[in-house]
């Protein structure tokens, strides 16, 4: 490409050289604009629409762009399909650097234009691909239809055709829009305008009020009539295996400390019996009872809880609730164990957001599948798992500060929802 940019310098002094330069421009642009090879890259939903656009129904091959290259060195076009997370950002910048020029980028979908659905209250998503690499064409939509992507491709084609040897392609710079809050900006500008307008209009309004003291607007908004539907009672889904009362009774027999969460004063057995059939029994267990109970329900033939659905936690002001969801494949009943862990308030307050506040025994030796789930809970809540074989952060970088799913979590890049 370098040689072509020198063409005007060499050819312009020669009589008629201008026409040669124009001819070169024409040929080069024609080739570039009509042979755009995209990079195989996609992170989420938009990637599927990008794939759809190369499939039989829409067929991006008509434009000569079906040559999706897996190696960035052979690609021309970077279709940024899908959300860009902070963790993915360096990879994207590296990919962009590896594409030889002239190269172009299409931001496909709302996520890559502005952050899209993940714009507010989010610590993980980069708000717009523009922050990382220069973007040529924006295709809004969530995800955009394949036709919309083609429209983007055609828009890009027009942009390429405008290049000349004298005004060659050059790599633009990324633009920092990461802190842009379009909603608040618009509201702020409007408030200022409104203030000015109020001052201007004050007299006119006062005059109007004098002239029409009992003014009634002729405008009556018509409410959209919504179709009326009958109320339908809910029928609980079928239940298999032991009933909640049976499970609770049997557990209580062995571990007298287990209870269920309730506000009512009724005896606890009645509370359990009142739980709808298709709602799993959730028992509160003491942290020290947790491992024995899990061992018991896994090994006892009556329970036979061989299947771990999930491990998750909930953050409250002074304690965590860690919920372990178990199921018996053989019998079909479920049991949720809710471990209430008091937060360790002996840690000084300023250190609390970055330190592990509670600790519980790991069950990953009983359920190998719990290993990743416990890592997730550790990563999101900062709960320590004793005896976990590989306690590392799972979704976030290892130098990420804080535990995002705690209620008091803050992140410098996080913008609060305005409404």
């Amino acid at each position: 490409m370098g040689i072509i940019n020198f063409a005007p310098k060499i050819l312009d002094p020669i009589p008629g050289g201008k026409y040669v330069v124009n001819a070169i421009d024409y040929v080069v642009n024609w080739a570039r604009a009509n042979s755009i090879w995209p990079l195989t890259y996609g992170t989420s939903c938009c990637a599927i629409e990008m794939m759809s656009s190369s499939m039989a129904r829409y067929d991006i091959a008509r434009f000569g762009s079906e040559v999706f290259r897996a190696s960035p060195r052979q690609a021309d076009l970077f279709i940024l399909a899908g959300t860009i997370t902070r963790r993915m950002a360096p990879a994207i910048q590296m990919l962009w650097e590896q594409i030889p020029g002239p190269k172009y980028a299409i931001a496909m979908g709302a996520c890559t234009i502005s952050g899209g659905p993940f714009i507010y209250d989010n610590y993980a998503v980069v708000r717009g691909a523009q922050n990382l690499i220069p973007v040529d064409v924006f295709v809004p939509g969530c995800p955009p239809r394949p036709e919309a992507l083609f429209h983007g491709l055609l828009t890009l084609r027009e942009k390429i055709l405008k290049e000349t040897c004298r005004n060659p392609w050059h790599e633009g710079n990324p633009k920092d829009v990461s802190t842009m809050d379009r909603y608040r900006e618009a509201a702020k500008t409007w408030a200022a305008l409104e203030e000015m307008k109020d001052e201007e209009m004050a007299e006119a309004r006062a005059k109007f009020k004098e002239e029409h003291p009992d003014y009634k607007s002729s405008f009556k908004p018509i409410r959209v009539k919504k179709e009326d539907f009958p109320e339908v009672p809910r029928v609980p889904f079928n239940r298999f295996g032991l009933t909640q009362s049976e499970i609770f009774a049997k557990l209580r027999e062995k571990f007298p400390n287990v209870t269920v969460h309730t506000h009512s004063e009724d005896p606890i057995e009645d509370v359990v019996a009142a739980i709808p059939a298709d709602r799993p029994l959730e028992v509160m267990v003491e942290p020290e009872d947790y491992l024995p109970i899990v061992e018991f329900v896994k090994n006892s033939p009556e329970f036979d809880m061989d299947y771990l659905i999930d491990v998750t936690a909930i953050d409250y002001d002074d304690h965590f609730d860690m919920v372990t969801m178990l199921r018996s494949l053989k019998h079909g009943h479920k049991l949720f164990l809710c471990v209430q862990m008091k937060k360790d308030f002996s840690i000084p307050e300023e250190k609390r957001p970055t330190s592990l506040l509670a600790s519980v025994k790991s069950i990953s030796h009983l359920y190998p599948g719990a290993e990743v789930k416990e890592r997730e809970v550790y990563d999101m809540f900062g709960i320590n798992f004793e005896g976990h074989p590989d306690q590392r952060r799972i979704f976030l970088d290892k130098d990420f500060v804080g535990y995002p799913l705690r209620k008091d979590f803050t992140h410098p890049q996080m913008i609060r929802r305005p409404v």
Binding site: V28, A31, N34, A61, R62, G64, R69, R73, Q74, P100
Partner: protein, 373 residues
């Protein structure tokens, strides 16, 4: 001792014409030495141009054809917008690649990195020079044609190995080593099938192999020996597909596994060379298959003189390219139908299936010749 001879029909023609044209020049310029030098140069230029035109000219056509064929298998249209039904799409692609930025990755062995695509291109060019496209239409009519082809075909693997090794990328290295292992293995059965052809035709010269098939379709090597010919043809098809690194034997590139194999780190013109070499190899291999099995430039006569007369009126080169394109179409159908075997299965297939069958074939062919003729 067997002395290989090289004849060149085009050269003969030029050597014949140059002294006659030289007569028009002033007497002072006339000399035999000069004549022969001029004749050599003209000859060389014609030959190089011929080979380049056939090779480089056919590559965009083939790429276009491949895109269209795969599109139609996949129920879509393929390139449509550039030229009539996208005919000049590939020209735009090649031009664009020429104008792309070229750079080598850091840590790459620059000399080898840029040398590799050139080496890959050499082999198909030499093979192309040996193939008779028509009566008297051959660049170099070498008496040891087949051995030379076998020798030269191994050149491609060198380029791929070099490219993969010098890229300083693990994927490239894996791809290069895979292709090295694969191509060297399949080279053996490739050579043995050609040996089978040499055995039944009694010649190593490609022209005489072709002319040995003169007659009707039944005289082509594929049909001349019942069953064995067809088996040999299928084996040739398989081993040449593997030789060319084409799907389903494209484990060296294996986009889904190695993102690009040996050419992961290549861009711009060097990549275009790899890309073209793949298709030029397709031409030469199809041409070889045509020459060795499908009667080369001979028309598909059926023994009815009324029809055959018309068939004979068509120039041989047309027949030749018609057959070559049929072969290429077959390669493409196979490519877009089958999935890729694993590297160890590929080796197993070669050493445990293809090679034994080849050996049996050779013995059976020899037995056939001894018994029947």
């Amino acid at each position: 001792m067997f002395v290989p001879s090289v004849t060149n029909p085009i050269g003969d023609f030029v050597r014949d014409m140059v002294p006659r044209l030289a007569e028009f020049l002033p007497a002072s310029l006339q000399s035999d030495t000069l004549n022969s030098i001029v004749a050599f140069l003209i000859n060389a230029v014609i030959c190089v141009i011929a080979v380049c035109v056939v090779n480089i000219g056919s590559a965009p056509i083939l790429i276009y054809m491949e895109r269209k064929v795969c599109a139609h298998i996949q129920c879509r249209l393929g390139p449509m917008r550039l030229g009539w039904h996208g005919t000049i799409q590939t020209i735009a692609d090649v031009l664009k690649m020429l104008f792309k930025e070229v750079y080598a990755p850091s840590g790459a062995d620059k000399l080898m990195f840029y040398l590799a695509p050139l080496i890959v291109l050499i082999a198909p060019f030499i093979v192309c020079a040996l193939i008779p496209f028509g009566r008297n239409l051959v660049v170099a009519d070498v008496s040891m044609g087949i051995p030379l082809i076998i020798a030269v075909n191994g050149f491609g693997v060198l380029g791929i190995l070099l490219g993969g090794w010098s890229s300083n990328n693990k994927y490239s290295l894996l791809g290069a080593l895979r292709s090295g292992a694969q191509m060297i293995s399949y080279e053996i059965s490739f050579a043995m099938i050609l040996l089978f052809v040499v055995m039944i035709s009694g010649s190593t010269n490609l022209m005489s192999i072709t002319l040995g098939q003169e007659g009707t379709i039944a005289d082509w090597w594929i049909f001349k020996i019942p069953v064995l010919g067809i088996i040999a043809f299928i084996l040739f098809f398989i081993s040449s597909t593997a030789e060319m690194n084409r799907a389903p034997f494209d484990i060296a590139e294996a986009e889904q596994e190695l993102t690009g194999g040996y050419h992961t780190e290549y861009n711009g013109t060097p990549f275009a060379m790899f890309y073209l070499a793949e298709y030029i190899a397709l031409v030469t291999n199809s041409a070889l298959a045509t020459t060795c099995f499908l009667g080369g430039f001979l028309p598909p006569c059926i023994g009815v003189s009324f029809v055959d007369n018309y068939l004979n009126m068509v120039p041989g080169v047309v027949w030749f390219f018609a057959k070559v394109f049929f072969m290429i179409w077959c390669y493409m159908m196979v490519r877009w139908t089958f999935v890729r075997p694993r590297v160890d299965q590929l080796m197993d297939f070669e050493w445990k299936f293809l090679l034994p069958v080849n050996l049996v074939l050779l013995v059976a062919g020899a037995a056939y010749i001894v018994v029947c003729g």
